[in-house]
């Protein structure tokens, strides 16, 4: 029996390694973190961001797959807001960065021969995403 457990453990180990490589190559290449560093003029601290990202992914992965309970006592509600906000910011930038890798907005602007109002379009983009998200959650569109 123990050989089967050994096989399972080995399988899990390899799966984790490959998933991490693929997933983090994606996040690195998409350039969310580099954009954060550039916007906040803190490119010198890129190492700290890498550490935070790695630690977050390791802890998050462990948390999800082992399913232990994480409680902050009276601060639970507040922590949920912090989680939601941070994850929202992260996913928001991820979505835009993803759209940017295939240069949607510049190509659209060029094709439509628009030369101004880029900032308005970006705000409209963000508001549209926010409204769509709210509709999704509050009108039972979520499965």
């Amino acid at each position: 029996m123990w050989i089967k457990y050994l096989f399972l453990a080995l399988g899990g180990l390899c799966a984790g390694g490959i998933v991490a490589a693929g997933f983090f190559a994606f996040i690195t290449a998409i350039g969310v973190i580099t954009t954060y560093a550039q916007r906040t003029h803190t490119a010198r601290h890129i190492m700290a961001y890498e550490n935070a990202l790695a630690a977050g992914a390791i802890l998050g992965g462990a948390w999800w797959s082992l399913g232990f309970r994480l409680s902050f006592g009276g601060l639970n509600g507040f922590m949920l807001i912090v989680y939601g906000l941070c994850y929202g910011i992260f996913v928001g930038s991820l979505i835009i960065a993803l759209a940017e890798t295939i240069k949607t907005i510049p190509i659209f602007f060029r094709r439509a021969k628009i030369t101004m109002g880029l900032s308005t379009v970006i705000i409209a983009f963000a508001v549209g995403k926010c409204v769509g998200n709210l509709l999704y959650y509050f009108f039972d569109m979520a499965p």
């Binding site: 984790g16 390694g17 996040i27 290449a29 906040t40 992914a57 462990a62 082992l66 910011i89 992260f90």
Partner: protein, 208 residues
Amino acid sequence: MGQTVYIKLNKSVRVDNEDVCVSDVASVYCEDKHMCAKIKSLRVLKFSDDKSRRYVVSVLKIIELIAKAYPGTAIESDGEQDVVIEHSDRQGKGKFMECIKVALVCLITLIGGGFAVMAYNNDVGMSDMFTRIYGLVLGEGVDGHRIMEISYSIGLAIGIIVFYGHFGNWKFGKDPTPLEVEMRMYEDEVDTAMIKQSDREGTEIDVD
């Protein structure tokens, strides 16, 4: 005279002082040490306290400066054609703000990265897959004691650390990490875009 001055312009620089000298934006070489030092201390521009804190200067401007100070010298430019000069914040208040920003970005990447992994696991139905593999290997209905979940988490950690090539201050190899490489490439692209933009808008500091 017959002297030749060689200059190599940087791509982008960050300057603390109000005055930007030639030595801040370029490396200079010529045989006459005295003249070399004089050229290095020539002033390229002076920051005024307006909002625009980034300037793009053409190499021709530097050549003009040197030619005015030393007429008749030959000047060889061997480097970038434009330089982006950024006026960095003064210490004190800027330092404090920087700490807050770093902490905030760290928090977002920490929680964002963690949740992104969970979302990924959820999307691909990782727990169903584990249950199925337990069934295939151990037989239906046998408890796997979470062995795959634990080893998967450890594998994830190993994968990330190997991929980034370091953890904390402990680092293997002298190569820059993937994010550092990506950061430099991104900065390069930003500089190029800024030079092009200022060229189009005509805000570049040039000879004509």
